[in-house]
């Protein structure tokens, strides 16, 4: 069974929401990313969303863009990211879903990219710029391999589209909490609860919420309605803050921050 499905089954029994930290692969460097993944697991994270850096990420705000830019400037290649995941797998069975631009998947070829992902030990992909209308071929290959392509639903998504996406969904559904790009926000919109309730009536697949989720209060609020909480920019901002510090300090400080978010989520 795919690690993502297994994790959500366990959490269902425990009646706990999943906490899903996002982290850019290779910022400040891949060795640190590997250590951070292990640290997050130790702190109680359930699934890792691993961002593969892309030169032109249109769904991402300044914090993640800058982290991608730093990683690319240091020469982070997709092959190196796979190698790092292989290293993580020697020590951990935490589910890892990779956020990757469709540009990269397309360039590498569907079959090739999924095979490499599986070989490295990834459990699924989120591809923010690949809408359901365009993903059929990739989906078929993924399904055959019990590999999850995580689909997105946005506040702008119509009921009709929502139903179409819910029907295709695998692993979990990613609900984009705000109309906008990723980033740190003070307040989350009010329509989250209503939209997630609607979505949950359409599918049994777990729903996780991301984009703009920045504080443990946000995490707490979301965990009352959703099955998972995704935090990205707020974590990457912490990493940026401690980038010049010794690696151990960075790992401890970012770990503490993630620990707080986890307490917020799990109550």
């Amino acid at each position: 069974m795919n690690r993502i499905d297994r994790k959500f089954q366990e959490l269902k029994i425990e009646k706990k929401p999943a906490f899903i930290p996002f982290i850019t692969a290779g910022d400040p460097e891949l060795r640190t990313t590997r250590e951070l993944i292990l640290e997050f697991e130790k702190r109680g994270a359930d699934i890792i969303e691993l961002g593969i850096p892309f030169s032109d990420p249109i769904a991402d705000g300044p914090i993640i863009q800058a982290s991608y830019y730093r990683a690319l400037m240091r020469g982070s290649k997709v092959a190196h990211v796979f190698d790092m995941v292989t290293e993580v797998r020697k020590k951990s069975e935490i589910p890892i879903v990779s956020m990757v631009s469709y540009s990269t998947v397309f360039k590498k070829g569907y079959q090739n990219f999924i095979e490499s992902s599986l070989k490295a030990g990834l459990d699924g992909l989120t591809i923010p710029d690949l809408p359901v209308e365009e993903n059929h071929e990739l989906f078929e290959i993924a399904k055959k391999n019990d590999f999850k392509i995580v689909c997105f639903v946005a506040p702008t998504t119509s009921d009709h589209r929502m139903a179409m996406i819910a029907q295709q969904a695998q692993g979990f559904l990613y609900y984009i909490s705000v109309v906008g790009i990723t980033g740190v926000r003070d307040k989350l919109p009010d329509d989250i609860v209503q939209n997630i309730k609607k979505l949950k009536q359409m599918t049994k697949i777990p729903v996780a919420v991301g984009f703009g989720v920045s504080t443990s209060d946000h995490a707490k609020m979301i965990s009352t309605v959703a099955d998972g909480v995704i935090v990205g920019s707020a974590i990457m901002r912490e990493i940026e803050k401690y980038e010049k510090e010794p690696t151990e300090k960075l790992i401890k400080c970012v770990g503490d921050f993630v620990g707080q978010l986890i307490s917020g989520t799990k109550g």
Binding site: P57, S103, T104, F106, K108, P131, F152, T156, G180
Partner: protein
Amino acid sequence: MVTTMTQSKMQGCGGISGKTILPDKTGHFGRFGGKFVPETIMPALDQLEKAYLEAKGDPSFNAELDYYLREYVGRPSTLYYAERLTKKLNGAKIYLKREDLNHTGAHKINNTIGQILLAIRMGKKRIIAETGAGQHGVATATAAAMFGIDCEVYMGEEDIRRQALNVFRMKLLGAKVVPVSSGSRTLKDATNEALRDWMASVRNTHYIIGSVVGPHPYPMIVRDFQVIIGKEVRKQILEKERRLPDYLIACVGGGSNSMGLFHPFLEDREVNMIGVEAGGLGIEIGQHASTLTSGEIGILHGSSSYVLQDEDGQTLPVHSISAGLDYPGVGPEHSYLKDIGRAKYVSITDDEAVNAFQECARLEGIIPALEAAHAIAYTIKFAPKLSKDKIIVLCLSGSGDKDSFEVAKKLGYKI
């Protein structure tokens, strides 16, 4: 049969048969095109497509568009016989389609007027745009001013430096120019930033893309608003020469002026089409922007097309002296025309373009945009190889006033 063909040509009919109407329903031109954007803006693309198709079939929309193109833009633009250039090159007869004579000095306004009318139809209260050379930014700011709509234009810091005059023009027109400091600080990054704005503002904002690029339905909509160029050329050349041209030549960055010129002639097998890309400083990576001549199929800014990227799908740096051609992607329909062999694409260097810029000024009294100077440079190489009974129509897509500072600098003048 022959008579029927000629009649349809004489009437200025586009001649596109039902079979070849592209994109298909899903927005693809063969293996190119599509919609590769975040879910947040998918509904807006559906809304735009629906609104556009309704508008296209609405006589009052078309009448309004015609009115503004005629009374405000000054269409039709002339098809001018470049007599001295023709004599100097001593080959094919050269006609210039004078898009530089449009209001705001380039072809870009054909599209912005059309799209702003669409935006109004959709009830959108705010307009955003990206710009490279600033011509699309100026054309958008102009249309927005004329219709009294708020307008913000994203522009790379490098382009702001190169195109200070257009930045000032946009500000005069009441638009807000937003500097983009990410990535290469040029057109690609301005497009990213405009898309990010749209992710957040999609409910009340229309994004006016300036070229035949981006997710469906943009390549189709921008093309349809630019085909007026080719439709006029067809009518004008038939009046002047009683026949269709042998060659159409136009520059290709994203590819809107060339698509506008080419498209109405796609079914006329005797008409050859040549798109001219920016060869920059040479063929090395990062030194040029020749997407069709040296790129590979990939994804950029919401569609599948030829792109300049590395083995991980990361966009490669590009260079051109012309800010309007300095772009690592190209419209999907151009990729399709290349693949089926209907159009040919070539490349011209910075130096060749700057020479053509001066040559056109001296011989014809027309200072062309650096973008169009690429098309002229290729014509200078190509026309002498053709016999005198051949006809070339070249799209002079814009005026070079905006480029005077950049060219002066390149030639060592201090202004």
